[in-house]
């Protein structure tokens, strides 16, 4: 069973409380990179706002064991909602200009992150958290509520599928 890395440490009055600003300063780059990989630069900003608004609402009075895993767990949920919403109302591809070309960051839209986004949901989530979020397999497992073994398997299945697509 995966250890819950987002668990709160037992309360004690002399435990230093981390002001939310410091949490934001420390996690903002990881969350940003993860979201650019997960949804593309165009939509990353909106999801960044939603991620930190949700984090601030849930922000505990106690120390978080693994703040990066906690932040990325929330970002992952926002990305998942985003993918689901898109799946419900598909847009004709031809009508939408390429996000990368639009904001002049074509380099971000290299085929591989696009390909990651096209993976089946479990593999996509695992590959994104592992490589864009730079979480260890155990942390990926905790973020998704699955076993470490399942996280490992989803990552390797995802990579295998990507290799196939990339080399095709």
């Amino acid at each position: 069973m995966a250890r819950d890395l987002t668990r709160r440490r037992s309360w004690s009055s002399d435990v230093a409380v981390t002001p939310f600003q410091r949490f934001l300063d420390e996690q903002r780059d990881a969350v940003w990179r993860f979201l650019v990989a997960a949804v593309g630069r165009q939509d990353a900003d909106d999801l960044f706002q939603e991620t930190f608004l949700a984090a601030m609402r849930a922000y505990p009075r106690t120390t978080i064991d693994n703040p990066r895993a906690w932040a990325l767990t929330i970002a992952h949920r926002k990305a998942l909602d985003h993918h689901r919403a898109r799946a419900r109302r598909p847009v004709p591809v031809a009508a939408v200009p390429d996000a990368g070309a639009l904001d002049g960051h074509a380099v971000l839209e290299e085929p591989t992150w696009e390909a990651v986004r096209a993976l089946p949901p479990k593999q996509r989530a695992c590959v994104l958290l592992r490589y864009a979020g730079d979480l260890a397999h155990a942390e990926v497992a905790a973020a998704l509520g699955i076993s470490e073994e399942a996280a490992r398997r989803n990552v390797s299945d995802g990579l295998r599928r990507l290799r196939g697509e990339v080399e095709r």
Binding site: V17, D25, P60, V107, R163
Partner: protein
């Protein structure tokens, strides 16, 4: 297998936009002033903290204290402190004799709060004594305790503890060091001992 590098440019701008939309329990900003760098913090009720940043351990120490004593949802959100910043600027420019800001007294309690509220009634350009604010707080003999309460003033400048001197006119102490007390009294045109 290698996936493309991911950028961090854009993260700072996204965080800045977050500060504009978020509504933290405690908003703060850092401002330069003639008495050094000030950290101003406010809750939804009003200004809750004015801290001499260098004197009190810097941004980290002051925001940690706010996180512990008020709420961990402490965010640098300067727009919420616009009014405080403007009134302080006017004060230092000699264009303001009284602050009209709503204050949040929640970092004070009991006798300490009464001492500070008595201090807040000393008009611009005038001075009181430790004995007079102790009396104003309802305990004329608690002079030493009044001094302690003034030393813990969470709202210096705005709650003008710099106007409290020793009986006989000696400067006494100050939360931000005596040099700052002298500067503030000079702003108000009070002759120094």
């Amino acid at each position: 297998m290698r996936l493309p590098e991911l950028p961090v440019d854009g993260a700072a701008e996204a965080a800045a936009r977050f500060a504009q939309v978020a509504d933290p329990d405690v908003a703060y900003t850092l401002e330069d002033s003639p008495v050094g760098r000030l950290l101003l913090a406010g809750t939804r009720r009003g200004l809750v903290r004015v801290a001499y940043a260098e004197f009190e351990g810097g941004e980290d120490a002051v925001t940690e204290d706010l996180a512990r004593r008020i709420s961990p949802r402490v965010l640098r959100a300067p727009a919420r402190l616009d009014e405080a910043r403007r009134e302080l600027e006017e004060f230092f420019a000699g264009r303001r004799r009284a602050f009209d800001l709503p204050l949040d007294w929640s970092l004070t309690r009991g006798f300490g709060r009464r001492v500070l509220q008595a201090t807040a009634r000393i008009p611009f350009g005038q001075t009181g004594t430790y004995a007079s604010v102790a009396a104003g707080a309802g305990s004329p003999r608690a002079v030493r305790a009044a001094g302690t309460a003034l030393g813990r003033n969470p709202l210096p400048i705005v709650v003008p503890c710099h106007r409290v001197l020793r009986t006989g006119g000696a400067l006494g102490g100050y939360t931000g060091g005596l040099e700052r007390k002298r500067t503030l009294l000079a702003v108000e045109g009070v002759p120094l001992p």
